[in-house]
Amino acid sequence: MNQERDYRLPEGLAKKVVPVAGILGIGGIVAALGLSLAGMSTMEHLAHAYLLGFWYFVTLSLGGLFFVLIHHLVGAKWSVVVRRVAEIIVGVFPVLFLLSIPIVAISFMGDSTLFRWANPEEIAHNELIQKKTAYLNPTFFAIRVVIYFGIWTMLATYFARTSAAQDSGHDPAKAYRMRQLAAPGLILFGTSLTFAAFDFVMSLEPEWFSTIFGVYQFGGGALAFFSFLAIFTIWLEKKGSLPTTVEHYHDIGKYMFGFTVFWAYIAFSQFMLIWYANIPEETGWYLHRQQGAWGWMAIVLIFGHFVIPFFGLVSRHIKRRRPTLLFWACWILAMHFVDLYWLVMPSMHGGAHHSEPTTGIPFQIVDFLCWIGFAGLFVAAVFWRAGNRSLVPMNDPHLADSLAFRNY
């Protein structure tokens, strides 16, 4: 690479993208709200669709945070060129925090719109929830949400700032310091992610519990992140804003492949223990999600989220070609939506705890509107963060290694 050359977004592009994506984002969510108020959907459905869109981008961004942390911890070299992009992506946590406010607010409404544990009437006759109210109550929930986003924003900011400070001068001590802090950072990351997954998604059905649930959400999130990273970096390269080569895509593709298997491994581990033990308080959750159309969706997940992309991504030739890698990245991003849909939406109307749980898939236009809304806001935030910054950590001690990187 020509060290003199700058790698930034094309002149003025951010200024154009941010308002368009932002308006699309706000428009999507407002339209979903409008449709629900107009009676095309219910508040309960809207709340679930909103949570789905929210959690989709939280998990994706957490995948990015994981990438930044693990990169520093192991002293990775190949990924230096794409690390700044990840640092920019994790800059969206403050925006996601603002978007979490409606969810917390709903939990204070004292009804079952989203969380049954927030509804005093439900608690009164549900002994299982009664025993959990010390943890599952709106005030503590709000406090925890602040803590989670506090941790994530803090980690994201620290690593992005330090890396940016590196640009203006050679200071190997900074790289060393980041490496030291990545270890405790990862511990904070893992714990906060686990509990956030419990709070936002698992507690939708407060009777049910699974300790591996956080790992499951991590697997899906990291997978979504690497897919997004592949798409984004290929696009940036095409715009001339990133000096990435097919070697870097190959490695991102390896991550996608690896996490495809990891997701399946964890999802199945959770399933198999519950299936084998066959204890009613645990099986209900899966039983519901295996009935009727939900069952078909589960099959779609097994094949669409694991078997097909497994064979799709196994070959190096696919990972080393931009179009094929792009195809699988889009595929996986779509599957992440299906995965979360299958987790979140069956919980409506009392979920598995209801005497006659829903079996049909309640697809509604608001589901997609909410997702589009979040996608728009996410993209706007990413471009806003990218602004006119250098997209490559210019003085990173391993930048040269990363540029010259080759796979066997």
């Binding site: 491994y265 199945f268 198999m272 039983l287 295996q290 070959s315 080759r406 066997y408």
Partner: protein, 437 residues
């Protein structure tokens, strides 16, 4: 993949006592010179050549035009084979060869088999990756003719080498040497067949070592054989005694310490072990004082004892006599199946149906005796079941007998309605799997 060694097929030459030339090895000072040389050698038409470097150099693959390896395909194939073996093996053992219902799960259900599928996939894939890599790179050979070239030692330190084998029509001792020198090699040397390689005799030290080790290896078996064949007065060598020797008397053995020469001691006269008091003959033997079978239950007859009896029956008796007492338990079914298949060595008396008239007519004391002492081929269950529980079971047997001969008008009206509303199921004796649609 190209051969990575000097194989023993030199250019045709007459054996004139001179060591044969197996190839040429050229030394280069820089990786760039080596890469360029490799490219030129390939372009010149040499097929059997290889590069040797102290560390991996990416550009070499391209310069040498090494074909992509087939290892990924081997690994994929082996992995899938592992998956298939795991599925078939588990299907065969669980659902075909020895079908046995365990904790109510279906004979063959995929989730339970996935861990083994995963393990076998990874196992075969990993072993194949390792061994095919070894084999295709011709690793594990004790020596290579290149090692006889002194210079070649620095291939693991600071120099870069290119070796061209004498195999192939392109090779010519003089021309190849000149060609390599022309590529800027710091030195070019022939790889000669060593004396040891030339002679068909095995090296002396190798033969000596083999003979010594071979004869030593015979000692342990000879020792074992001698010990096994001979007889000895001394007690056998006890290398790991564990708790084999304990200062205690074994039951039912002779013992000279006591006057009656028995190791077992009878209870002291006039005493009785705790819990062994059996004065209530009805409860403990099912007979009254005169020795006749009792006909009245010596335990309270109520819903509680009935439920207890049902529970105990389902634990101990149901495997043979079946839920309804007709003798169609899991063991009986399997025995029937084996008998049908003509399994050799089968002798099987089917469990009596509890509902049979003779059993119905028996006084309950007689059934008690059957459970307590066993009856013909059925073993005793006195060890497993307390007398009270035996009576509870008999109470439940009576209920089963009653149910077996019940008529529809004995069913309460409400229940009858429910029964009528139920869909008629095929009664082929097959338990329906509790699967949801």
């Amino acid at each position: 993949m190209e051969s990575h060694s000097m194989d023993q097929k030199p250019e045709a030459s007459i054996d004139n006592g001179e060591p044969r030339v197996l190839g040429m090895v050229a030394e280069f000072d820089t990786p760039d010179a080596l890469i360029e040389a490799a490219r030129r050698v390939r372009e010149e038409g040499y097929e059997h050549f290889d590069a040797h470097t102290p560390y991996p150099i990416h550009a070499l693959d391209d310069a040498m035009k090494i074909r992509p390896t087939i290892i990924p395909w081997l690994v994929l194939g082996a992995g899938m084979t592992g998956t298939a073996i795991a599925v078939l093996m588990q299907y065969w053992t669980n659902a075909v060869d020895y079908p046995f219902v365990i904790s109510g799960k279906p004979l063959f259900s995929l989730p339970a088999n996935v861990p083994i599928m995963f393990e076998l996939t990874v196992l075969l894939a990993a072993l194949t990756a390792f061994f095919s890599n070894m084999a295709l790179n011709k690793m594990g050979r004790p020596s290579n003719p290149l090692f006889s070239v002194d210079r070649f030692r620095s291939a693991t330190a600071e120099k870069f080498f290119l070796s061209v084998e004498a195999r192939g029509f392109k090779f010519d001792r003089v021309e190849t040497k000149q060609f390599l020198e022309g590529l800027g090699a710091a030195a070019v040397e022939p790889v000669l067949e060593t004396e040891a390689e030339r002679s068909s005799k095995l090296p002396r030290p190798l033969v000596t070592t083999a003979i010594i080790l071979g004869s030593l290896a015979l000692v342990p078996p000879a020792f074992v054989f001698g010990m096994r064949a001979g007889t000895f007065d001394a007690p056998r060598l006890h290398i790991v005694p564990d708790m084999d020797f304990q200062p205690k008397y074994k039951a039912q053995t002779e013992n000279d310490f006591f006057g009656d020469h028995r190791a077992n001691r009878p209870p002291v006269e006039g005493t009785i072990a705790i819990g062994a008091l059996d004065l209530d003959t009805a409860l403990h033997y099912g007979k009254n004082e005169d020795g006749d079978y009792v006909t009245e239950f010596p335990i309270p007859v109520n819903a509680e004892t009935m439920a207890r009896g049902q529970q105990r029956y389902r634990i101990t008796c149901v495997a043979c006599h079946g839920e309804s007492g007709t003798g169609d338990g899991m063991i009986a079914k399997r025995a029937d199946l084996l008998a049908q298949r003509g399994t050799s060595g089968m002798s099987w008396v089917p469990p009596t149906s509890i509902l049979d008239q003779p059993v119905q007519d028996q006084p309950i004391g007689q059934i008690f005796e059957s459970i307590t002492n066993g009856i013909r081929t059925m073993p005793s269950y006195a060890q497993q079941i307390t007398p009270e529980d035996r009576w509870a079971i008999i109470l439940y047997l009576k209920a089963l007998q009653r149910a077996g001969s019940a008529t529809s008008d004995q069913i309460p009206a409400s229940e009858r309605q429910r029964l009528n509303a139920m869909p008629v199921e095929a009664t082929d004796g097959q338990a329906t799997e509790g699967e949801d649609e």
